[in-house]
């Protein structure tokens, strides 16, 4: 188990290889479908004009994401009525939905670690080599355990996207994950798919 502190340097990223177990400590944000689309439309492609608190949120996120991590997660949060937020359950959600956006978002903000489940496709894998960055697979469904690793919810942005879709800024300690896509072009997902395909062909022929 390798301990990693956010923000992450290029040297640390380059050392990570697929199959490595890591534990993360530091400040990161959650973001899923609505957030990625909002980032792309408003700040990367600029196909819509910033409105409301868009600019302010963008400025607040930039330093966190520079060398930082984005977590594909729609948490269960307590304290919604009082504002004293805490994470109750916070496992990863399926990452592949962000495939159209992820590479551009990584490049734009210099994001070093994308955390989620199920892996991502060729565009993101290429971005992992270029930025450089890694894809970290959290354990799907391990929601209570991961919530325990969240020491504090620092703030929330874009709560109007809904609780699961909002941008939660969290301070985590020893968040467990496995490197399944590295900055050298390696992908556990490609490997497993290739070997299971060979096995499937055998089973279909028998």
């Amino acid at each position: 188990m390798q301990k990693i502190t956010l923000p992450i340097t290029d040297d640390v990223i380059r050392e990570l290889k697929v199959g490595d177990s890591v534990s993360l400590t530091g400040v990161m944000i959650t973001g899923r479908d609505a957030v990625h689309k909002w980032m792309i439309d408003t700040f990367v492609k600029k196909s819509r004009k910033p409105e409301g608190d868009d600019e302010a949120v963008y400025e607040a996120l930039k330093p966190i994401l520079d060398g930082g991590a984005i977590y594909h997660c729609g948490p269960v949060v307590a304290g919604l009525d009082t504002g004293a937020y805490s994470f109750v359950a916070a496992g990863p959600t399926t990452s592949i939905r962000e495939e159209p956006y992820q590479a551009d978002v990584m490049q734009h903000f210099n994001i070093k670690a994308v955390i989620g489940k199920g892996g991502m496709g060729p565009k993101t894998l290429a971005a992992c080599s270029e930025v450089p960055g890694v894809y970290l697979h959290a354990i799907g469904g391990a929601a209570s355990l991961i919530a325990q690793s969240v020491q504090q919810v620092l703030t929330v942005h874009k709560l109007d996207f809904g609780v699961p879709e909002a941008i939660w800024v969290i301070d985590v300690k020893d968040f467990p994950a496995v490197v399944t896509m590295d900055s050298h072009g390696g992908s556990v997902h490609v490997e497993v798919e290739t070997q299971s395909k060979a096995q499937l062909d055998k089973l279909l022929a028998s």
Binding site: C73, V88, T94, K117, A143, G162, V163, L204
Partner: protein, 290 residues
């Protein structure tokens, strides 16, 4: 008719926070089979630790508390309208208490209702009148990640070389497991329905998931199919979370329906390792859970 809102609330809490013993035991056996120090074993360790933690703290096992699917068997004379009202009230309360995540999204506007109550079919509630005095309510929480990797096939299927027989069924189910890879939070449990029409077939594939992992199909042919499929699926070596490994599925549960001469459907519902399934029985004043 008693007000069972509190009892339903407890059913939801239990289902969301306390994994059934048969599923946990099966995950423990799976852990023993993975190579020590592998990512697969690490994933199962984390899963098992998470299960214990969720039970102790009474917090959701997984944050995606899914679509609540209730199957209600009620004695003659009970009001299904009232039962439905009570179930919906319990679901809203369970959401407030964070046993459930707000999960009901209006498909047209994209707005989340905030309390898990959507149109009349969210949550999903099936009613059936049965003989006897007991009210039996089964609940599963069916997460989105695994629901998305479910599949339906119409046999024959030329691409896969699957004909209209149980051998054809075996082939398309394996195709579904391959396509799912680790995305449904493997190791999963497969509910498989053969026959029916498209609707009844998917419905039956969910019903099959209510069976315990260690029970055997009463139909000898289907029992054989279930065992073969479990073995074959595990040979795909997709492994926990798709990290590669020995355990890709924990079990397969199959159900057969009559079909039209012209149709032969196979439906696969994939249930993630977080197979949250519980039953509540009301007999007189007594309510029990299993």
């Amino acid at each position: 008719m008693p007000d069972l809102t509190e009892a339903f609330l407890e059913l939801v809490r239990l289902t969301s926070t306390d994994l059934p013993p048969d599923v946990e035991a099966s995950l423990k056996r799976a852990r023993e089979q993975e190579a020590s120090g592998s990512a697969a074993q690490g994933a199962l360790d984390t899963i098992l630790e998470n299960v214990t933690m969720a039970r102790q703290n009474s917090t959701p096992i997984c944050q995606d508390t899914g679509t609540p699917i209730f199957y209600v068997q009620h004695p003659p004379g009970w009001s299904t309208t009232k039962l439905k009202g009570q179930i919906r009230a319990a679901v809203a309360e369970a959401t407030k208490r964070t046993y459930l995540r707000p999960n009901a999204v209006d498909t047209v506007t994209g707005k989340n209702s905030g309390n898990n109550l959507g149109d009349p079919s969210f949550p999903t509630i099936h009613f059936e009148e049965v003989e006897g005095e007991d009210l039996i309510v089964d609940l599963i929480l069916k997460g989105g990640g695994c629901e998305n990797v479910g599949a339906q096939y119409s046999l024959p299927n030329g691409r896969i070389g699957a004909g209209r027989n149980l051998e054809g069924v075996r082939k398309v189910v394996l195709d579904a497991v391959f396509n799912a890879q680790g995305k449904g939070c493997a190791p999963g449990v497969l509910g498989v329905a053969i026959g029916g029409d498209r609707g009844s077939s998917y419905y039956a594939s969910k019903e099959a998931l209510f069976r315990k992992l260690d029970d055997e199909n009463t139909d000898a042919e289907l029992a054989k199919l279930e065992n073969r499929l479990t073995q074959d699926a595990n040979q795909l070596s997709i492994g926990p979370m798709g990290f590669g490994g020995e355990t890709t599925v924990l079990g397969v549960k199959a159900k057969s329906l009559h079909r039209l001469p012209a149709s032969y459907f196979v439906s696969v519902s994939y249930m993630c390792w977080a197979h949250r399934r519980r039953r509540m029985t009301v007999r007189g004043d007594e309510t029990t859970y299993e």
